[in-house]
């Protein structure tokens, strides 16, 4: 029989963890559970849901900071920020639909716990870069805090960093404080058609290195572009490279023009305004192109941009796959044919290793059987894995928080 706990107070979170310790029953930690499909299958009989820890408890627009309880829906936070023309600059994606959940269900705790960032990450930083302060309950059942409400802070270790992206394996987040920033007055996206992968990555690199300050740079090969929700992209009958500029009106119009010149020297160009631009980037951030065929394993590769197209080229040579690039080539989303041996793990990680430029590959979507069989997260060197295990033990000595979600061995 499975037990679900839905605490409404921080002290109850402590009590649940104390119960887990005393009962010897590990807990699956979730917000609304939209991203439970990421990581190894935990399969635990008890679940701690933070979905009832809700509410924005601090928001001062002129201080550029917001505190919310971990289960607060991301949508509520974004709506509140929009009232003051502000936003979360790391552009948190909504990965719910990729796992078959409805859109708009993500909690802020889940976003931070998985360190998920969207297309603007390349310019504005990741979720972890905007994570200023935290209250959390450790696997010892103790409520602790770290960080604060200000952007400049060197007062003790920055525990926020290690909690971001720890998938609930170190502590249960109860409150998070995030840096918020002004939303841009204007946005334009310039499209270039028909570039091959290598040329597109070079073009994105050139734009990223220019003084035009693009806030997002992505490339969709033709098979992916064809499925876009934006007609200009879907009907292009070619690959589409998209580069976005944001800021004050005058600045955006000027930079858009300069970007058209830069890309126009390589390909035919078009530009997207308001709604179309927003739809395009939402789809790119939310892995929209791979929602439709849930049977395909989906990989997320973080690589140095200069290595991106060679890595993809090697993978493409040996398996059936679709892919697209974000972060100027630094992020590759890849969906492989369901019949591919070990979900493509050896091929994908082999290509990374052959490129020899570092980076990592995560199996973001795969069925439970596959995720139990292949390492979901990039395997680490033995000393690094040992250090990570020691760190886990210092937060969660009995292994009661999401044990096995990130690594197979140990707790």
């Amino acid at each position: 029989m499975s037990t679900q706990f839905r605490p409404t107070e921080d002290t109850q979170v402590c009590d649940v963890v104390a119960w887990a310790l005393s009962d010897g029953t590990p807990l699956e930690i979730v917000g609304h559970g939209t991203k439970s499909g990421i990581g190894r299958t935990v399969n635990l009989s008890a679940t701690l849901e933070t979905g009832d820890l809700t509410g924005i408890t601090y928001y001062e627009p002129s201080e550029l900071a917001l505190t919310a309880r971990a289960g607060t829906p991301l949508a509520d936070i974004e709506a509140k920020l929009a009232e003051n023309q502000q936003q979360l600059a790391f552009e948190p994606p909504d990965l719910g639909p990729l796992f078959g959940a409805p859109a708009g269900q993500a909690t802020i705790g889940g976003i931070v716990g998985c360190n998920l960032s969207g297309p603007r990450r390349v310019k504005a930083g990741a979720a972890r870069d905007h994570f200023l302060g935290v209250n959390a309950v450790s696997g010892r059942g103790e409520l602790f805090k770290s960080g604060g409400r200000v952007v400049k802070n060197v007062s003790g270790y920055d525990l926020c960093k290690v909690l971001a992206g720890s998938y609930g394996t170190l502590a249960v987040l109860t409150d998070v404080t995030l840096k918020v920033l002004p939303a841009p007055e204007k946005t334009r996206t310039v499209l270039a058609f028909g570039l091959d992968d290598a040329a597109a990555v070079r073009a994105m690199g050139e734009a990223a290195r220019s003084t035009l300050e693009p806030s997002a740079l992505a490339h969709m090969p033709k098979p992916v572009a064809t499925g876009s929700d934006v007609s200009y992209v879907a009907q292009a009958d070619a690959s589409v490279t998209a580069i976005r500029v944001e800021g004050t009106e005058q600045s955006v119009l000027y930079r858009c023009e300069r970007l058209r010149e830069l890309l126009g020297a390589l390909a035919s160009v078009e530009e997207l305004h308001g709604h179309n631009s927003a739809t395009l980037w939402r789809g790119i951030g939310n892995v929209g192109p791979f929602v439709a065929r849930p049977d395909r394993p989906v990989w997320r590769l973080s690589v140095p941009p200069s290595a991106a197209s060679a890595i993809v080229n090697e993978i493409d040579g040996v398996c059936e796959a679709d892919w697209y690039y974000d972060w100027a080539g630094g992020l590759i989303w890849l969906a492989v044919d369901p019949g591919t041996e070990d979900g493509g793990a050896s091929i994908v990680r082999g290509a990374l290793a052959h490129a020899g430029q570092g980076g990592h590959a995560t199996l973001v979507r795969g069925d439970a059987e596959l995720r139990a069989r292949v390492p979901v997260f990039q395997p680490q060197s033995a000393p690094l894995a040992a250090l990570s295990a020691r760190l886990k033990a210092q937060f969660d000595p009995q292994g009661v928080l999401n044990p096995g979600r990130m690594v197979t061995e140990g707790r």
Binding site: A65, R128, G205, S302, S381, A385
Partner: protein, 495 residues
């Protein structure tokens, strides 16, 4: 300041240790002579001094690993040191400790424009990175005011900031990877030229860890393209409140300036006397707002900020019309510390952060404290991000004045915490603010932080006596009391 009790056995075995260190680092890389050691007895926080037992200056990662392994085997404490410019005593030596200096790690190893990063050794100065990529139109964004001397390794250890942090982030937002050595001599690589960690973000926790978790031997930093243009406004206000309102007004208008710095009257006068930057002297607060980006954007924002300033009651607004003029605006601010040094025999630089809107409150409280302690104070302030640098003026030759100054400083930092801020914005806790950590964190918070150290350095040999007011053994921290009789927890909502 109470430091860990020196281990007499370690001190007694000093000669043997020196011999073993010389076998690892030959020649002049091991400093054991008493006079030569005195050069290492303090860092930028000169009020604290201690002669190290021995100093070692390795040149390779392999040597660093061997030194740490040797010290771990012999249970000898190690204090890592960069350029020694830190202001919180993070590199304060131990009488029974080895000071491990990284000054010979001074090479820029690779500049990789394709991936917009540079691979550097930790002893390279902050400014040298920007200089190395300047001719190609790039720079490294964090720019602490000591950038000409401070090392990038020290910047990572202290998570240094600078005047550009509001828009471009602090060190932790601008590094991609490091190579580090743990206390037991294991060499690890965290991150690389890609974005985001593949597991726990150990790079994030190393940044700002003040030399307590590992020794950094290589760093991959992000480099940015220099903006098309930059222009600054120099704005004088009749009150501190009016200046504070202007800062809030700029942010509320959705503008994130490249830099936004404030000075109070004492700092304005000291700076103007020192470098004749042309600052107005009939104002109570002075704001420098720098805007950078495409020309058309900057020109537009200059207009907007001018209007906000006027609406907040500015009595003088000057806009830079050339890059030379922009740099002149900065001249006084950048020289504010030495300028204050000229009007007082000694000064003590504090470093707290507060929510921006509490600026007038804290300045008012500080002027009251100034009367209470009978010590003058000048303020420079990274207004954009709420980071305060009060400079307390004192004379160390007056008996008891240093102690009084430290007490004054501690009161300011406690006020910062009470106002919703933090103890340190960019200088670190070190030894200086160690005993104030209890003002910000309770025992559970501090114990959880120390458990992180246990994962990296279970014997507590790396830089002990810094950051944490009380040292606990890892075994003690690891104890857990679990009620094995099944507890009912009747109040828990279950479904």
């Amino acid at each position: 300041m109470q430091m860990p009790e020196p281990d007499r056995q370690v001190i007694a075995a000093r000669d043997d240790l020196i011999g073993a260190l010389r076998a690892i680092v030959p020649g002049e890389g091991v400093i054991a002579d008493s006079d030569e050691l005195s050069a290492y007895e303090t860092d930028g926080l000169t009020a604290y001094k201690m002669r190290p037992m021995v100093v070692v200056l390795p040149e390779t990662t392999g040597q660093v690993a061997d030194i740490l392994k040797l010290c771990a085997d012999r249970r000898v404490k190690v204090v890592p040191r960069g350029a020694g410019t830190g202001l919180s005593g993070g590199a304060l030596p131990l009488a029974d400790g080895v000071t491990l200096g990284l000054g010979k790690f001074n090479q820029i190893l690779e500049i990789d424009y394709d991936n917009r990063c540079a691979v550097v050794q930790p002893g390279v100065t902050n400014l040298a990175i920007s200089q190395a990529v300047d001719q190609d139109g790039y720079y490294y964004a964090p720019d602490p005011s000591s950038q000409i001397a401070c090392s990038i390794g020290g910047n990572v250890a202290e998570n240094s900031g600078g005047v550009h942090c509001l828009k471009y982030g602090v060190t932790t937002n601008n590094i991609l990877g490091i190579e580090m050595v743990t206390m037991d001599g294991e060499v690890l690589r965290l991150g690389g030229r890609h974005l985001d960690a593949e597991g726990y973000d150990l790079l994030g926790i190393m940044t700002g860890s003040e030399g307590l978790l590992g020794v950094i031997t290589e760093i991959t930093v992000r480099i940015l393209t220099k903006p098309e243009t930059a222009r600054a406004l120099l704005i004088g206000f009749p009150s501190v409140e009016a200046g504070g309102a202007c800062v809030a007004g700029v942010i509320e208008a959705g503008i994130i300036p490249g830099g936004m710095e404030m000075m109070d009257k004492a700092a304005i006068h000291a700076a103007e006397d020192f470098c004749h930057a042309g600052y107005p002297l009939d104002v109570e607060s002075l704001l420098i707002v720098e805007l950078d980006g495409p020309q058309v954007e900057v020109d537009g924002l200059i207009e907007t900020v001018s209007e906000i300033a006027k609406s907040c009651g500015a009595i003088s607004v000057r806009v830079s019309e050339s890059d030379e003029e922009r740099q002149r605006f900065w001249l006084g601010r950048k020289a504010a510390f030495p300028a204050v040094g000229r009007i007082s025999p000694d000064y003590y630089c504090m470093d707290g952060t507060i929510p921006r809107k509490r600026l007038p409150d804290i300045l008012k409280a500080m002027s009251e404290l100034s009367k209470k302690y009978d010590l003058r104070v000048a303020n420079v302030f990274h207004a954009g991000d709420g980071n305060l640098h009060p400079l307390i003026l004192y004379d160390a030759n007056n008996p008891g004045e240093l102690e009084k100054t430290e007490e004054f400083g501690a009161e300011i930092l406690k006020l910062c915490v009470e106002m919703g801020g933090v103890l340190s914005g960019e200088h670190g806790i070190g030894v200086e603010k160690r005993d104030l950590m209890g003002a910000m964190f309770n025992e559970i918070d501090l114990n959880q932080q120390q458990r992180v150290k246990c994962a990296f350095d279970p014997e507590g040999l790396l830089n002990p006596g810094k950051v944490f007011p009380e040292l606990h053994r890892c075994a003690e921290l690891g104890k857990m009391h679990v009620h094995h009789g099944k507890l009912p927890f009747p109040d828990l909502p279950r479904f």
